[in-house]
Symmetry: C4
Subunit: 207 residues, 4 copies
Amino acid sequence: MQEEKETARIEAFSDGVFAIAITLLVLEIKVPSHEKVLEHGLAYSLFALWPAFLAFFTSFTTILVIWVHHHLIFTQVRKTSPPLFYWNGLLLLVVTFVPFPTGLLAEYLLNPEARVATSLYTGNFLAISVAFHGLWRYVSKSEGLATSTISSKRGVAARITRDYRLAPLLYLAAFGVSFISEIAGISTCLLLAFIYALRGQPTKEAG
Amino acid sequence: MQEEKETARIEAFSDGVFAIAITLLVLEIKVPSHEKVLEHGLAYSLFALWPAFLAFFTSFTTILVIWVHHHLIFTQVRKTSPPLFYWNGLLLLVVTFVPFPTGLLAEYLLNPEARVATSLYTGNFLAISVAFHGLWRYVSKSEGLATSTISSKRGVAARITRDYRLAPLLYLAAFGVSFISEIAGISTCLLLAFIYALRGQPTKEAG
Amino acid sequence: MQEEKETARIEAFSDGVFAIAITLLVLEIKVPSHEKVLEHGLAYSLFALWPAFLAFFTSFTTILVIWVHHHLIFTQVRKTSPPLFYWNGLLLLVVTFVPFPTGLLAEYLLNPEARVATSLYTGNFLAISVAFHGLWRYVSKSEGLATSTISSKRGVAARITRDYRLAPLLYLAAFGVSFISEIAGISTCLLLAFIYALRGQPTKEAG
Amino acid sequence: MQEEKETARIEAFSDGVFAIAITLLVLEIKVPSHEKVLEHGLAYSLFALWPAFLAFFTSFTTILVIWVHHHLIFTQVRKTSPPLFYWNGLLLLVVTFVPFPTGLLAEYLLNPEARVATSLYTGNFLAISVAFHGLWRYVSKSEGLATSTISSKRGVAARITRDYRLAPLLYLAAFGVSFISEIAGISTCLLLAFIYALRGQPTKEAG
C-alpha cells in the first residue's frame, strides 16, 4: 500500500509539471508590437507569427505525448526506488526546459541563424527521448520494481522496449535533418509525436 | 477498475490545464508604463485598460464554463480509447491557446484594426465549441465507451447532444457579429458563456 | 457518493487555482534593469524593490489564508448546486485577479499616484471578502446543501458566520485607511490576513 | 479519517506549489534580443546565457529535492495543527520566492556586482533550510502529531533530525562561500542538493 502511494505521488507531481509546461507554451507567442502593426497591419503581423504557432503546436503535441508515455511506463511500475526518482527527475528537467527552445524558435526561425535555434529545439527533444529510454531501461531491468507482466516477452512492456530503443535514433535523425532544413527538422519532430501518440495508447492492448 | 482510473487521470490532467490557463489570463493585463502614467495619470491609465479587463472577464468565464462542461461529458464516459484521447487533446490545444487572443484583444481592441483581433478571439471560441461537439459526438456514438444511461433519449446525455449541436452555430454567429461590431461579438461570447453555465449543471437532473 | 465526488472536484480545481495564483505572484517582482544597477548599484536597486517584496508578502499571506478558509467552508458542504458553483466562480475570479494589483502596487507604491494603486489593491481584497461572505451565506442558508452540524448555533459553522459577516466591514476599513495612508492600508490587509489565519484552523474545534 | 484527509490536502497544495515553482523557473531564461544576436551571433548569445542555465539547473534540482523532503516529513505526520500550517506556509513562501533570485543570478552573475545577486540566491536556500528545520523540529517535538514510529531513536525520523539540524549550517557555509567566490557558492548549493537527494529517499529504509 505504502509503495503504491509513493508511485501515485511521483505520477501526480509529474502530471502537474507536464500540465504546467504545456500551458506555459502559449506565453512564448508574443502579441505583436504597435510599431510592427503600424507598419505592416495586424493581419500581416499575426501571419508573420507562423513560426511561433508552429513551435507552439509541435511542443504542445510532443508534451501531450510525453504525458501519455509517462503514464504508460508507470502502469508497469509497482514501487519506487532512488534511481527511478533520478531518472524521472532528469525527464522532468528536460521537459520543463521545452518552453525556452520553443520561444527561441518562435523568435529566430525566420532569422539567418535559424539553424542554431532549430538544433537546440530538436536537441531538446532528443534529450527527452534519451531520458525516456533510460527511465524505461531502468524500470524493465530492475527486479521487483516492475509489475509481474513486464517480464513477459509480449504485451505492453515488450512493445515499450522496442519503441523506446528506437526513439533516440529517430530523434537523432530529426536533429541531423534540422541541419539540412529547419522546417524538415521540426516537421520530423511533429511526425514523431504523432507516431508515438498512436503507439502510446494503453487501452489498445485490450483488443 | 483500471479503466475508471484511466478516465480519472485524463480528467485530472485536463482540470490542471484548465486551472492553469484560467490563472495565466491575468498576466495578459499589463501594468501601465510610467510614461503613460506621467502623461495621463494612473487612474485614467487603469480606466484605459478596460479592454484588458473585458477580455480577462470574458475568457475567465468561458474557461470556467469549459471546465464544467468537460466534467459533464466525463460523467458520461466509462472508459478511454485512442480517439477519446485525440479529441480531448484537440480541446486542450484550443483552450491553452486562449491567453494569446485574450492578450491580443487587450492590446488592440481600441486600435483601428480591432476587427482582426476580435475575429481571432471569437474564432478561438468557435474552435473550442467545434472540439466540444466532436468530443461529445465521438463519446455518444461509440458503443461500450459511455455509461448505460447515455443511450436513453432523455436525461443528461440527450440534453448535451442538443446543446452541443447548437454551440458551433452560436459561436459562428458570434464570429460573424464580430465583423459588424467588435463589442457585440465579445458580448455574444460572454452571453453564450452565461447560457452554457446555466446548462452545464449536472445536479439539475436530480430535480 | 456522486455528490461527494462533485464537491471534491470543485475543491481540487479551486485548490489548483489558488496554488497557481500564489506561485505567479513572484513574477510581479521584476529583476532590476542594467541601467538602474549601473546608476545606483545592485544592492540599492534590490533595496528599492521593497514595495514589490511587501506586495508579494501581503498577497502571498492573503491567498494562503483564502485557501484555508475555502477548505473550512467546504468541510461544511455536502453537495453542490448551481448557485454554489456561481459563488465559487466569483471567488475564483477575484482571487486570480490578485497578481495584477500586486504588480501595480510593486510598480507604483513610491509614485505620487500611489493612492490609486493601493485602493485597487485593498479594493481587490474587499471584493474577495464579499465573495466569501456571499458563498458562505448561500451555503448556510440552503437546506440540504450543508452537513447536519451546520444548523447548530455552536461549532465551526457559527464561528464562520460571525467571522465572515465582519470581514467585508474590516476590509472596507482597510480600503478607507488606504486613502489616508497607503502603508497603513496595506498593513491593515496584512494584519487581517494574520487574524483570519488564526481563525481559519479547522482542528481548533477538536480542543 | 478526517485528520488524514487534512494532511492530504496540505500535501496536495504544497505539491502543486512545488510543481508550479519548478516549471516557472524556465521563464527566467530570456530569449536573447535581436540586437545581441546581430552583434555576436545566435550561438555565442546562447553560450553567453550559461549563468541562466546554471541558475535554472541549480534551482530545479533544489526544488525537486525540497519536494522529496517535504514528502518525507509528511510520511511522519498523522494530523495537522495551526503551527504545522504556519511552518508549512513559511516554507512555501521561501520556495515560491526562488524564481526571483534565479532570474537575478541569470542576469547579474557576469556583472561586477555578482556578489549581491549570489548572496541573495544562496541566502534564499539558507532560509529554506531554516524553514525545513523549524517544520521538522515542530513535528518531532509535538505529542500526538507524529506517527508512533517517530519517537524511536532509529529509523527515518532520527535520520531526518540529524540531517535537518545540519542543513542550516551547511547552507550558511554556502552563503559564506558565495562572498569569496560566486561560482563556488552556487556549486556548494548544487552539491548540497545532490547530497540531500541521496538522503531523501524514503524507500532506503526498507533495505
